[in-house]
Point group: C2
DNA sequence: ACTATTAATATATAAAACGTATGAGTCTTT
DNA sequence: AAAGACTCATACGTTTTATATATTAATAGT
């Protein structure tokens, strides 16, 4: 069997055209070098060198094989280096899920940084609801997710990376829009637009319990699966909504955002992952998110 | 040191994802296989497999390294194959010299056959005089040549591959053109156009001695380095010339060719090479020329 | 809980690569 | 022309390395 050793020896001899010097360069004695070259020639089935007892020259076939051998040795080094990079999470695949509202706060900054640091990593981004991400992660279709906590899957781990205040989204011409800050009580009679509980229980429950704390149950007239839809429905005067403040960045006309008078409740965005399915790439990603958010 | 053995073993395990089956496929026992893989991982500095005592899966880095390993093994095979082809003279370079008159007889057929049989051989063709070819061959600038013998270089070998009759080239309106065959005697008073002796002594001496045998010395009015030039000078009525019959293929108007009445002297074309500097390719070429001309 | 399966470990054996000493042929030098 | 230096090949003993056998540890499935 031909081994890299044979190629290394052959390249040395071919470059020196001298068994003695080549052996020196390889830190070995000359006889075993001659043996190994002979052995290589036997395996190949053709001569690599013209030997004249005193001088060595490459045959045509030897020249051809030399080119290939040098390539092979270089490519071996490259293969090792690529493997090393992959093991450090510097190349590879990363599938990221995120809830729509994450688009407007942490996500852009994190992705920009990550692309900068690991340009060789191929990113796949999917906008998904929190519960979809939980399922996809279990099915190995995602590496990490940005969700609205909490979730109830003991296998998975989450870590809050951002807390943002909730604000009230109102149609521009709504009477309450005149106020700088809005009390919960004043929303008692309003129609509410909410996320379906099934898709984002965290945010949903937070809004409900907020209203409960002001002694009313919100009248839900519409559910919408995307933040953009919710804001559009508010603009269309279908009702009001309580949303994370970063939604302001949408810049939708016809909608204004007002803080609550009450101590500001916070909506969290958390990072989600499966601790048993970490790849080098996702580890690097988690580490970077930690560094950027704490 | 990483050897091809490591790659072969690794690819087997990575493809089977099972040490036992991989060992079977490699015709070896399982423990040494485990050892070799472990050794490879140590050399690489990163893990190739996730091992769970019962199951083996590739790491990210392992997947990357697998791709490269498969490439490397394939390329080794290709390298060996290229070397084999080169050793058989099926790929490579061949520099061929030829005198202009060889263009019209043997050369086209030989080149066509050779290109057909060895399409991977890169041919370089140079039109050169006989003495130029002798020098170029000594300087290693040619592999083989087609010349007008003889030459006086003991190092080189020649072999006559074609004998062709000499004919007289006359201007169309020349009085002798009316005859079907021409006697040497009748050319005694004519002006002759010849190759310079320095460049093609064989042909030159042949023409001179031909005239001597008819008891006259030719009156040389012009020398020309190319057959085409000689024929053009004849057409311009500068004189007559004695040329190899294959020159007819030039089809120059204003010139007619007539055989000699005397027993037809022959002009030879020979193959020229350096027996100590044969490459596999030139050997194949010589063998083919031999086959085609005998 | 038990059995079959799988990879790892320990030890021994076989193979191989390697080094030293030597030889044979060739080129150079005097 | 003879002697010496140089270079690659050969012979043989040593060391290193790869491999096989036997066994263990651990896990998944019944």
């Amino acid at each position: 069997m031909i081994e890299f050793r044979h190629l290394r020896y052959f390249v040395a001899v071919a470059e020196e055209l001298h068994f003695g010097r080549a052996a020196e360069r390889l830190h070995m004695a000359q006889p075993p070098l001659s043996q190994q070259i002979r052995q290589l020639e036997e395996q190949l089935g053709f001569q690599l060198f013209h030997r004249t007892k005193r001088r060595v020259t490459l045959t045509e076939a030897g020249q051809v094989f030399l080119d290939h051998s040098q390539d092979l040795l270089q490519q071996l080094e490259r293969a090792v280096e690529s493997g090393r990079q992959a093991s450090r999470g510097e190349v590879g695949q990363l599938a990221i899920g995120f809830v729509s509202s994450a688009t407007y706060n942490v996500l852009p900054m994190i992705l920009h940084e990550f692309r900068d640091r690991f340009p060789q990593v191929n990113l796949t981004l999917r906008e998904l609801t929190t519960d979809q991400q939980v399922r996809w992660l279990a099915e190995n279709r995602l590496d990490v997710g940005f969700i609205r906590p909490p979730i109830d899957d003991a296998q998975l781990k989450t870590q809050v990376i951002l807390q943002e205040p909730l604000v009230v989204a109102l149609p521009v011409h709504h009477p309450l829009a005149a106020q700088a800050a809005i009390s919960l009580r004043s929303l008692a009679g309003e129609s509410f637009i909410l996320f379906p509980r099934r898709l984002a229980p965290g945010l949903y429950d937070q809004v409900i319990s907020l209203c409960q704390s002001a002694d009313f149950s919100p009248k839900v007239v519409q559910e919408a699966i995307q933040m953009q839809t919710i804001v559009s429905l508010v603009a269309a005067r279908m009702g009001v909504a309580i949303v994370p403040i970063s939604i302001q960045h949408l810049g939708r006309t016809g909608v204004v955002y007002r803080p609550l008078q009450e101590p500001t409740p916070q909506a969290a965005i958390a990072l989600l992952w499966h601790p048993d399915k970490l790849t080098p790439v996702s580890q690097q990603f988690l580490a970077m998110v930690n560094r950027l958010t704490h």
